[in-house]
Amino acid sequence: MIELRDLCVDLGEFKLDEINLSVKKGEYIVIMGPSGAGKTLLLQTILGIVKPRKGRVIIDGRNATELPPEKRNLSYVPQNYALFPHMTVYDNIAFGLRIRGYKDLEIFSNVREVSEIMGIKYLLQRKPSKLSGGEQQRVALARALVVEPRALLLDEPLSALDKVIKSELQRFLKKIHSKIGFTAIHVTHDFLEASYLADRMAIMYDGKIVRAGTLDDIITYPRDRRVARFVGGENIYHGKIIGTKGGLTRVKIGELELFSIYNGRDETLVMIRPEDVYVHGKMGSMSAQNIFRGIVEEIEYRNSAYLVTFNVKGVLLRSVVTKQALEELSIAKGKKFTLSVKAAAVRIISS
């Protein structure tokens, strides 16, 4: 278990500001944020390369803030994998064991075992420069895991890879994690990567963790406009709270009036995720509190689905629609449809 308490760091243009985070044993935590948010700095502080100005790093209940990196037993996997270029794959993986003074025979059997799990036995005698990106990642993971670290610190391990290879490695990483169950702190700027891998995620801006929680927590209630945008919110509006009715808040966006289960002050931001805008062919049984008609303004293909923009009383509302629905409902530009949004899907973001 790794705990960060009130961690503050200043390092040139980068900083960490009162970071609090705890990572349970076996948990896979992903820290997201735009470049410059301080994600790498956070990993380096946990690793012990950078000393905090204030606050503590606690590893397995012990204050490790003053320990040098070599006493922390955390394995670092940087973006470029940083395989030692002057050593074979075998010597790379064996490095941590040699430093620990293991005997040659123990080293041999440990390296063998981990290479089998990683599927890289055939690479052991090669030099890192001869490996593909995917092979390098596996070797880096093997080298990091063979010493049985308290946690793996992964710095953007999947960026700078081709899209196709990237999704393969992502699956591999998830598979290995569920097989071995290591603790991981993984840093990325890619929300999709995070949503695939993370047990829990945290979002950083300007050296602060502005939101932490599960994927569901964050996409359903981002709490902050930047977070909403970061996790892919498309429909974000300025709205005005105009009262309550039947326990629900009434909020007005332009001419459109909506009900929300959330509370807020006067002027506010309102977010409706595109997946929460439902499109109906005919009036059926609809449980949603917000039902209105919209005209199709635009249809864009996006990632095996379609993003349809509806004009509802002048407000542009985007909805995700499958090809199946597009066909079954004959959605086309200029046509009118009934839309519904649950009161629980109208998020009020007061920041």
Binding site: G48, N73, S75, V77, P78, A82
Partner: protein, 251 residues
């Protein structure tokens, strides 16, 4: 434009090539054997080469730590020290000799101690070594700074995470990966030592190193003898040059 550029560029290249070619091609092998490889010249070559080697070794011993600290530690005055290292580049050669002599001649306290240890500066082998080391400092240290900067610190961070202390990391990761730069720096520093004469004429005319001998023969016997004496040294320099380019990966 390009034709004009090419003409001017060619002029500059000729200005380097013509003198060296004239010297190498315009000297007969008899002359070279007679003046370039006689016992006095061979002894002077031996003095020059060995002094330059020793200077280089001393620079490795002190330059590696300096370059490591300059690339891996952030401390006050780091930029100033980086600047000081490059100073010998711009010091006129004669002035460098005078400065060494003023500071370390055997009548200064430091020079007195050194000369009692058998390391007198004036007209001694150690004087030659000092001059050569002084002028070569920037070449050695800059090459090492380049080398250490070229080692991705992530490699070191990974090693630290895997349990290696800073000194284990230095010996197993950083230094091996900078070894090419160490070789380049040593060759450059050795070659720079071998090329110096101005400061030697001031600090240590004796024991006569090859550069001083060439000057002396020019003054005493004229161009013909001096140029024959210079050929072996020139060949050694050119060979070193080829090695430097090989190890530094061209340039």
């Amino acid at each position: 434009m390009i034709q004009g550029f090419a003409a001017l560029a060619l002029l500059l290249i000729s200005f380097i090539v013509v003198p060296l070619a004239s010297l190498l091609l315009g000297t007969s092998s008899q002359e070279i054997v007679k003046y370039g490889l006689d016992s006095e010249a061979l002894y002077a070559l031996y003095i020059g080469i060995s002094a330059s080697i020793i200077a280089t070794v001393l620079l490795i011993i002190s330059g590696v730590p300096l370059a490591y600290l300059l690339t891996r530690r952030d401390f006050k005055g780091r930029d100033l020290i980086k600047a000081l290292v490059d100073l010998p580049f711009v010091i006129p050669h004669g002035v460098a000799g005078i400065a060494l002599l003023v500071a370390f001649n055997s009548r200064t306290p430091l020079g007195f101690i050194l000369s009692n240890l058998g390391m007198k500066l004036e007209d001694s082998f150690w004087g030659i070594v000092s001059v050569m080391a002084f002028v070569s400092v920037p070449l050695m240290v800059d090459a090492l700074i380049d080398g250490f900067s070229g080692v991705d610190t992530d490699l070191e961070h990974v090693a630290r995470g895997l349990g290696a202390s800073e000194s284990e990391t230095f010996w197993r990761i950083t230094l091996p990966l900078a070894s090419r730069s160490l070789v380049t720096g040593s060759l450059l520093s050795w070659a720079r030592g071998m090329s110096e004469v101005g400061a030697l004429l001031i600090v240590a005319y004796y024991p006569k190193s090859i550069n001083v001998l060439i000057m002396e023969r020019f003054w005493t016997y004229g161009l013909q003898v001096a140029k024959a004496t210079a050929i072996p040294l020139l060949v050694i320099s050119l060979t070193t040059f080829v090695l430097i380019r090989r190890f530094s990966g061209r340039r």
